[in-house]
């Protein structure tokens, strides 16, 4: 019997009918999401009331903003008793909040450094970066330093030559022993930085002066300071954190012990203590008259602090990898560093992205703690601005502005990390 001849088999599809009215459209969405049971209904109404209350409380204040005034008294005069925000303080002082006391005619330098920062991030931003982009990322720190602090271009160049010296020494002495080559390279580079950089800089500068006006560290403040400390801390804490995480999982007892002691010590101490150490204690240890730049001291401490946290985040990623991945890498005959570089770390770092970005955001916001050691970060500048008789008594406007700028940066980082997670998603879950 031929099945095709059976008359009750339907030949065409039935077109779908519309949902019943009660389960359709916005009304249904609202019922399901906002008024699903009495708890949900109550919470919805309470939230709406809270938002309305906030809007009613803040709207007249925000809506009645004064932008054109030279002092709080003038603002009040213009407002004539009505509530209103006095954003004139931001209009008056925003360059200071962004750049500190950086000379105004040189603002283009930190701005350019900031713009180039994105170019330096190209290897992270694009899937397959051209080799030249990687070179730019490598020289960016030197360029940024030169742009922000000024001085002779030969100084960062001479410092970079130290790395060339190290590489040269490695290739010369690699035949003797691997460990020996590394020690010789480190020693050579340190000696280069200590004794060769200064004469080389002055000689090169005498032959071909390429200099920018020097800007003292004291003049760097506001968000420029936060970003310098934050970006350097972020950029350096990741590689250090990876090394520490690997060290903590190492089977060599000395390296394991050193990593554990470092991580646990730094994590056991609040950042503010490290900052006070940087600003106060070091002053007593160093010989009098030493000019050990305060920003540099702070950057070192912040980096050490962040790298200890970073190490633990990455260790979490390493621990999450199945044992089989390590064994597979070994079975392929890869040595330790190749196995880490090609098999383990790419997977471990991908798992750790949310944690890493979490640490980055935390670190960036922690930079405001430097106000306690007398550096003029945005919060400290807000206090300084308030101390001016023109703006004494102003409060919310400054904090709202600073909060908004921080929000833009932190939210940007957070969204970018979510994008990165999606892009790198290769698992089959």
């Amino acid at each position: 019997m031929n099945m095709h001849n059976v008359s009750w088999v339907r030949q065409d599809m039935v077109s779908p009918s519309a949902r019943p009215d009660r389960q359709n459209g916005r009304l249904e969405w609202t019922r399901k999401n906002l008024f699903n049971g009495w708890v949900s209904t109550f919470l919805t109404l309470a939230s709406v009331a809270a938002i309305l209350w906030l809007a009613v409380a803040v709207a007249p204040w925000l809506g009645n903003s004064v932008w054109q005034a030279t002092s709080l008294a003038e603002c009040r005069q213009l407002l004539d008793g009505a509530p209103g925000a006095c954003w004139a303080v931001i209009r008056d002082r925003w360059p200071q909040l962004l750049f500190g006391f950086y000379p105004p005619h040189l603002y283009w330098r930190p701005v350019l450094a900031f713009a180039l920062l994105f170019a330096a991030f190209a290897p992270v931003l694009f899937r397959s970066p051209p080799a030249r982009a990687l070179w730019f990322s490598a020289v960016y720190p030197g360029i940024a330093y030169w742009l922000i602090w000024g001085g002779s271009l030969w100084f960062p160049t001479a410092v970079y030559l130290g790395f060339a010296v190290a590489v040269g020494l490695i290739s010369l002495s690699a035949r003797i022993s691997h460990g020996f080559a590394i020690s010789v390279a480190i020693l050579g580079a340190v000696l280069w930085w200590l004794y060769a950089v200064e004469p080389l800089t002055s000689t090169a500068n005498a032959l071909l002066p390429i200099t920018l006006d020097v800007v003292a560290s004291r003049d760097i403040g506001g968000f420029l300071l936060s970003i310098v400390i934050g970006v350097t801390g972020i950029a350096m804490s990741l590689p250090l954190g990876i090394l520490l995480a690997l060290g903590r999982r190492s089977s060599l007892p000395l390296i394991h012990l050193l990593s554990v002691v470092f991580i646990e010590f730094i994590r056991g101490v609040p950042l503010i203590t490290l900052l006070f150490t940087a600003s106060l204690l070091l002053n007593y240890f160093l010989p009098p008259g030493t000019n050990f730049d305060l920003i540099l001291r702070v950057v070192i401490m912040v980096t050490l602090f962040a790298s200890a946290y970073m190490a633990e985040v990455i260790r979490g990623g390493l621990a999450a990898l199945p044992r089989g991945q390590y064994e597979a890498a070994e079975a392929l005959g890869l040595d330790y560093w190749k196995a880490q570089r090609l098999v383990i770390l790419p997977q471990a770092l991908k798992i750790s992205i949310p944690g890493i970005v979490n640490s980055f955001i935390g670190l960036f916001k922690d930079t405001t703690l430097v106000m306690f050691i007398g550096l003029l970060d945005p919060i400290a500048l807000a206090a300084a601005i308030r101390a001016n008789t023109n703006w004494q008594g102003i409060y919310w406007e400054l904090f709202i502005f600073i909060g908004a700028v921080f929000f833009v940066f932190c939210f940007g980082m957070s969204r970018y990390s979510m994008y990165l997670e999606r892009r790198l998603k290769t698992d089959h879950r």
Partner: protein, 338 residues
């Protein structure tokens, strides 16, 4: 990463270069800049303006010292310090002089090993209350909630005063001045206690200053003055006599306008000695004859500095009070220039 190593290299280079310290004055002159520790911001005493130039009583004093020592009132690097970092900054040599509304006390002078150059502002702790509270004197404050800044002598003075008078109070400790203002205005505390000058300038920033009164009772002595490290007497002398020169200038009526004319010579020998026309006071101090003339020309005499930064014509609006010259019933008294 490389940037920091680069910076480490500079630091290391400066470290090895070392610095032989002959004396603070020689160091300052070799450097060409005076490092002056100030507060990060206190109305009338030190605050940067929109172009980053510092102004205030404490700032003016540093400019006067720079003018005397370096011949340039602008050759000053102002180092903002906090209540916690100020003494270390001075002790470690990060700043040459600390001009930071610091109360001259026994332990700071003796135990912390500093030398105070004198007093550039006599202050005292008092109370501000809303008019509506109805308090007329400090004795009416029994049982009040009081906003105080944490970690200051203010806290201790308050506790001592209330214990002495057998009264109770509820402290509301707040980290910084701006937060106290917000709390006080929001009614989180009945009373705001701080130094008189601070209260006056805070009140002047209120929307309706006349609704608040500052009580007449002053419960502590807060002589504020600049200080230097102990053990460098020449530098301490420069600090002390620059301050004296500013006060003496007001006594003699030397102002920014007439200092040039008076330095050509007057019939008052003390003015002549001060401005370098007679005698060799500058030489004794290790400076040139015109040191005091430049110090006075920098920001004016003590009275001018006071009037410009905190005086009655400024929004802060302080009366001279204890800070008037001794001849006018105040405490400002310059030691003779002889």
């Amino acid at each position: 990463m490389k940037m920091t190593i680069a910076l480490a290299a500079i630091a290391a280079a400066t470290l090895t270069a070392g610095a032989a310290s002959a004396g603070t004055m020689a160091d300052v002159q070799a450097r060409g800049k005076l490092n002056c520790g100030v507060t990060g911001g206190q109305a009338g005493f030190s605050a940067p303006d929109a172009s980053g130039v510092w102004h205030g009583m404490d700032v003016a004093y540093c400019r006067a010292v720079a003018a005397a020592v370096l011949k340039d009132p602008n050759a000053v690097t102002f180092v903002p310090t906090t209540g916690q970092t100020r003494f270390t900054a001075l002790a470690s040599g990060e700043v040459d002089i600390l001009s930071r509304t610091t109360t001259w006390t026994f332990s700071r002078d003796v135990d912390l090993k500093f030398s105070f150059a004198g007093v550039n502002f006599y202050d005292g702790q008092t109370f501000m209350v809303p008019k509506a509270l109805g308090a007329k004197t400090a004795k009416d404050l029994d049982g009040a909630t009081i906003c105080i800044q944490t970690g200051t002598t203010t806290e201790l003075n308050l506790a001592e005063y209330f214990r002495k008078n057998d009264m109770t109070y509820e402290p509301v400790p707040v980290e910084n001045n701006a937060d106290i203002q917000q709390k006080y205005l929001a009614g989180a505390c009945d009373v705001y206690t701080s130094d008189g000058s601070d209260l006056a300038s805070t009140r002047s920033s209120f929307k309706d200053p006349q609704e608040h009164i500052i009580l007449a009772d002053v419960i502590s002595k807060e002589p504020l003055g600049p200080l230097v490290r102990q053990g460098d007497d020449q530098w301490a002398d420069v600090a002390r006599w620059t301050l004296n020169a500013l006060i003496a200038a007001e006594e003699f009526g030397i102002t920014t306008e007439n200092v040039e004319k008076l330095s050509a010579g007057t019939d008052n020998p003390e003015i002549n000695r001060l401005l370098g026309k007679e005698g060799n006071l500058g030489e004794q101090l290790g400076l040139d004859a015109a040191w005091a003339k430049r110090a006075i020309a920098a920001e004016g005499n003590y009275g001018e500095i006071f009037a410009r930064n905190v005086g009655e014509k400024t929004p802060i609006g302080l009366a001279r009070g204890q800070n008037a010259l001794w001849e006018q019933g105040g405490l400002m008294y310059a030691v003779p220039f002889r």
